[in-house]
Point group: C2
Chain length 417, copies 2
């Protein structure tokens, strides 16, 4: 008998009919003999509806109040799913983040989980009940304030609960049937990936693939909790995200990811002295802005330009923060370019294969794509391109690494180090 944590996203519980469908799936799994904890998101559209109401009342609503507001959507789904399960004869009980002891830090709208006490979950499971948990939410242990984990936070709730409760597997149910080599909306012949390493999934998530939230994968990696991404609406196996395994090394490039809605900020005319970059990024980081790629141009005449990318939504806040920093460090100005995006190739096999980055750059160049910034890691190569060329860049890279073919048929595989 396994302990399984299942997580159902907003579209999976987006209507009463869908909640009933999820209840049937859960109930079937419970009858199978597994112990189940089910984490749910708010019904699709609900969180946006709440945010819109608040923003209509106030351009910049206090984040503490937003957390109290937004946390209500998941409570509703949890209670409704529990009601549906009970009506099908599957004993269930719903819990809020607070009730399961989901304790977080005090950073509203982006809280990090500190620990999960989980007594009530254990009690429910011991009593033979399905525990239905409102995802996305916790409480700040010191103040008792409601916190939320950021968009997509229910994935993180689910994996963290799986870890805390010693589950055998965390299943993330969503509206796609697994992780694909790239977005099938852009590349229709994208392939479903059978299994991926945590590192690859992490890169994909942080590079824009929306299937899992980055932090949930970090949790999975840190505590070695296998995560299976599956569709709520089919019975396919989905994609298993797990610790690295031998056969994965065979795959050089696993996927192409992309992110729109990025912005490039350039601080122009920065005096080239030690400590300046630190000053800039300390200021930006202090407001929890996610700085991604950073490039410093070669210094000319003691002045340099420093560029970095951020989520586009944080442009205004970033520019505001930079205003005083620019004066303080004696830079000329800060400018922002909101018309950029990022395309990336990801694969653990890059570690043992040469020529991957070169092949990517050549393919993009042959396609006439101008690469504005580059950043690489052991298992990924990312390029910043202009917004209008994102889709074409994705197609070019997907073709260049033959990702539409089954792994064993890809010619690039043979090019070993």
């Amino acid at each position: 008998m396994a302990l399984i944590v299942q997580k159902y996203g907003g579209t999976s519980v987006g209507s009463l009919e869908r909640i009933r469908h999820v209840a049937r799936k859960v109930s079937a799994a419970a009858k199978n003999g597994d112990s189940l904890i089910v984490v749910v998101s708010a019904m699709s559209g609900e969180t946006d509806r709440l945010i819109e109401m608040a923003q209509e009342l106030c351009a910049n609503p206090p984040e503490r109040e937003m957390d109290l507001l937004m946390s209500s959507g998941e409570r509703v789904s949890a209670a409704l799913l529990s009601v549906a399960l009970n009506s099908m004869g599957a004993p269930a009980i719903s819990f809020t983040g607070r009730q399961i002891g989901m304790l977080t830090d005090a950073v509203h709208m982006k809280a990090r989980i500190r620990r999960i006490t989980g007594e009530k979950l254990r009690e429910a499971l011991d009593g033979g009940k399905v525990a239905v948990v409102a995802g996305f939410q916790g409480i700040d242990e010191s103040t008792g304030n409601v916190t939320t984990l950021g968009r997509g936070g229910s994935d993180t709730s689910a994996v963290a609960i799986a870890v805390a409760m010693g589950a055998d597997l965390c299943e993330i149910y969503t509206d796609v049937d697994g992780v694909y080599t790239t977005d099938p909306n852009i590349v229709p012949n994208a392939r479903k990936i059978e299994s991926l390493s945590f590192d690859e999934m992490l890169e994909m998530a942080s590079l824009g693939a929306k299937v899992l939230q980055v932090r949930s994968v970090e949790f999975g990696k840190k505590y070695n909790m296998p995560i299976r991404v599956k569709s709520t609406f089919s019975n396919e196996e989905g994609t298993l995200v797990t610790s690295e395994r031998k056969e994965m090394e065979e795959v050089v490039v696993s996927a192409v990811a992309y992110a729109r809605d990025q912005a490039k900020v350039t601080v122009v005319g920065v005096p080239d002295r030690p400590g300046i970059a630190a000053r800039i990024f300390t200021s930006v980081a202090s407001d929890e802005i996610n700085v991604d790629m950073i490039i410093q141009n070669t210094s000319a005449g003691g002045l340099t330009d420093l560029s970095f990318t951020i989520p586009k939504t944080e442009s205004a806040k970033t520019m505001q923060l930079l205003e005083s920093v620019v004066k303080e460090i004696g830079a000329r100005e800060a400018i922002v370019d909101g018309e950029i995006g990022k395309v990336s190739i990801i694969g653990v096999g890059m570690r043992s294969h040469t020529g991957v980055a070169a092949r990517a750059f050549k393919a993009l160049a042959d396609g006439g794509i101008n690469i504005m910034m580059i950043s690489t890691s052991e298992i990924k190569v990312s390029c910043v391109v202009s917004s209008g060329e994102i889709d074409r860049s994705v197609r070019i890279l997907h073709d260049a690494f033959e990702l539409a073919l089954p792994v064993e048929e890809r010619s690039f595989q043979e090019n070993r180090k």
Copy 2:
């Protein structure tokens, strides 16, 4: 500088525009120098929407789950009002029932308040903030489960908070501008009452006047917390509900109340032995059904009939409970009449005036109304009539005691004991 608790009902916060309107009122009062705690209901329609969803999933959803579900509506209004206040420059902070330490017993959907710890409220007030509180909800201290106080429970939240925090006044804002001598929908020339005693308001509330929840008035009476009922949409003084005062004794009958949706249950052929009535009502009361009027007919041949009224919504449950009781005590059967209602006259002046009940019965008789059951207390006379005759009975009684006239012009006033 006074400490005032204000409560705004569902229609008062029923849209973003109305929430803004409430925020302007609250903000004006705060600028006036008063310390404010604002208790809110769910946006109108929201609680019903949640209940309907649950009932669509399950005919008889578990009450614990219903409480978790229903409590979310008030959280949303509280957060939104706090956001609106902050946007107007009035520092505000929202709290859930749990956060203010609203501790209740374990009876879901009808929980009773045990105590309110209120530390966070005190902190907020000391910090010069308006405290916005989600009404209707609390937590069961022993389990940490979310509880709700029953329909209209936000009134009770407000008065209980006012008592716990030592407020000077509790203002209940609603969509009517005070308490009327009767429902103006039935009697267009009904008058607004300037002040009422807790006892009168209690009778009115329990006899069907929907302006305040019974338990909120009980709290007010028990702890002598004056309650002012006012309109959210006007600046009129409203009606003050307070402990009895000299001038109130002058008013013989203050108001006419009515209740539709009642049912009369009759247990037929009950053996006339001691303990039988106790057996019946213990059984009914065990399931928290509100039994109202009770009448036992004169015994004939050792058998008697026992009738009582209940809210119509509880008929099915009551009849089910009675099934075994009827067998056990050897009664013939239990029958239910759902086509009845109750009309009542209320007034503290009845204590010192004679002939009030007689005048009421005569007026109804003259109007050809058949009185099916009667119950009286020191300050009220209630009559059960058939559903179809409720409205006419109300008009007849309102006329008979000249309630449309200013108090000093009523002739019946002179008929002293």
